[in-house]
């Protein structure tokens, strides 16, 4: 069968497996986006002793579908004073970067000897930072092109917040690269599968003093990274760009219909991508202790994929839990925290890690 052989030519094989992986991962993540909105409403309701959506489908499970239909059917209103080009460009710019991050996340080990990552880039984490920081353009452009003061204030806040927290975000992961010696996210996960997770290195391959000492900078990194991620994704303790109580709706005040939905879903997509990065870097990605990877049979490959998404879901729950517990920071507190605390902590942490590594390698 010649046509069948053609499918297994290296280049063509890469092409159709990548396309298949992209389609599947997009499907999974977009479903997760819809259901994290449902989860947000349900978790917030439960934390406040309410019931939450429970009318559409069992326990309100069809609510995201109905919300989507509602948003599509609403009028797509464009105010007269806006800059039309940037006004329509901004929602797309807010949504796309969040989805692009998914390209480099290893969401599984391997299935039928195909690595479960869409693009196995050697500069994986740099891609994540480069692309996710583009997300702020969507928000800034939305705030500016709306030609209205509250969205404008939201856009300004978003950009200054992003600048302050991107530094500690980037600095806090450098200790990981010092330890693993690679920027490739797949290799980082493999390292964690062999040597134990970054924030929980207790099991596998015994236990020695260097691991115990490196645990300290890893925990600091984890805390700094997760807090910076909250700021990066505009989640609650740092959701100043859309602070409803002071800025009406923040940067998306003037938006309606599907354009608003893109901002709304983009926020959740960014949250899922951020959770994916946290899981990949600190929580061992697809690895579970005593569970083999996909080379031991396709069933383990599927278990690895399920593990990754279960971990992502757990991190998302943490995001929601934090949101419905903490009040919002004031803007000066946010800036002070970013520049006076996390920047220094992340910087000192790099030196701490380097010193520990130097001591044990020499």
């Amino acid at each position: 069968m010649p046509s069948f052989d053609l499918l297994f030519q290296p280049e063509i094989f890469l092409l159709w497996t990548s396309a298949l992986k992209t389609a599947v991962i997009l499907g999974i993540v977009l479903t997760m986006v819809a259901y994290s909105v449902w989860a947000e409403r349900k978790v917030s309701a439960f934390i406040q002793d309410r019931v939450g959506p429970n009318r559409v489908g069992w326990a309100g499970l069809l609510q995201p579908l109905v919300d989507g239909v509602k948003l599509v059917l609403k009028e797509n209103f464009v105010p007269s004073g806006v800059n039309k080009f940037f006004f329509s460009l901004a929602p797309a710019l807010a949504f796309i970067p969040a989805v692009l991050v998914l390209a480099v996340l290893p969401f599984g080990s391997s299935l039928f000897e195909v690595p479960m990552v869409i693009a196995n880039l050697d500069i994986g984490i740099l891609w994540v930072f480069a692309v996710s920081s583009l997300g702020v353009y969507g928000i800034v452009l939305a705030g500016w092109s709306s030609n209205s003061k509250y969205p404008f204030l939201g856009g300004i806040r978003s950009s200054s917040q992003m600048i302050s927290y991107e530094i500690s975000l980037g600095l806090s992961v450098i200790p990981i690269f010092l330890i693993t010696g690679t920027l490739n996210l797949g290799d980082i996960v493999k390292y964690q599968a062999e040597h134990g997770w970054m924030v929980f290195p207790v099991w596998t391959n015994g236990f020695d003093l260097s691991k115990l000492l490196l645990w300290i900078p890893m925990l600091i990194s984890f805390v700094v990274f997760i807090i910076a991620m909250f700021a990066e994704t505009n989640r609650l303790p740092f959701d100043l760009p859309e602070a409803e109580q002071e800025l009406v709706g923040g940067y998306h005040t003037e938006y309606s219909s599907m354009r608003f939905a893109l901002f709304f879903l983009g926020e959740y997509a960014a949250m899922i991508a951020g959770s994916g990065v946290i899981v990949t870097l600190f929580l061992g990605g697809w690895s579970l202790p005593f569970v083999p990877d996909g080379s031991q049979g396709w069933i383990w490959g599927l278990v690895n994929i399920a593990t990754f998404f279960a971990k992502v879901a757990a991190v998302i729950f943490f995001f929601l839990w934090i949101r419905w517990t903490l009040p919002r920071f004031r803007f000066d507190q946010l800036m002070k925290l970013g520049w006076y605390v996390f920047f220094e902590v992340a910087l000192a942490n790099i030196f701490l890690t380097a010193v520990i590594l130097l001591y044990f390698r020499s």
Binding site: F46, I47, Q48, R50, T325
Partner: protein, 176 residues
């Protein structure tokens, strides 16, 4: 004179907010857990569950007309309720009873009696003013309709909601 409030001195741990954040997280997760296991039940899921059994005796629901133990309508169309009604929700068209009937001495009866529930404010003044104890605010609170016309309760509907009220008024009974 301005009064200076002494701010409490916070320790390093307190200034880092971490214990407070942890405490807050524990509080919210406890509420979440109690909801998941069904130990908290605050919400009454209205159309399925109702609080009718808990309504107090003095609850003022929809105004209704009542009949007495003889099945005779108590209203004598005096129109006092129509006059006192603050939003003018009540419209009565009085009629004359036939001279030969058993209740000839009552003389009047309402030919039509309408209460516009889109206007009614449930104040209970009609019940208070009625000399014949013929109009009562019952416990029906879910008065709905798809048009304004559907919200106008006519005499038939009012008696349907009101039912029978015994006792209280005996002056129209035969002398014993």
């Amino acid at each position: 004179m301005a009064r200076t409030v002494q701010r409490p001195k916070l320790g390093l741990l307190e200034r880092s907010y971490l214990p407070a954040i942890l405490g807050g997280l524990l509080v919210t997760i406890r509420h979440f857990k109690n909801m998941i296991f069904g130990r908290t039940r605050v919400t009454l899921e209205y159309p399925e569950q109702k609080w009718d059994a808990m309504l107090p005796d003095w609850y003022r629901g929809a105004p209704t007309l009542v009949k007495d133990e003889h099945g005779r309508e108590r209203c004598v169309a005096c129109q006092l309720c129509e006059f006192i009604c603050p939003p003018r929700a009540i419209t009565i068209k009085p009629g004359e009873l036939s001279k030969d009937g058993p209740w000839a001495k009552v003389e009047k009866f309402p030919e039509e009696f309408e209460i516009d529930m889109a206007r009614c404010i449930y104040c209970g003044l009609c019940q208070e003013v009625c000399p014949e104890q013929a109009i009562f605010l019952r416990k029906d609170y879910s008065i709905t309709g798809e048009t304004r016309e559907a919200l106008v309760h006519d005499k038939k509907k009012l008696y349907e909601l009101g039912g029978v009220m015994t006792g209280l008024v005996h002056k129209w009974d035969e002398k014993k």
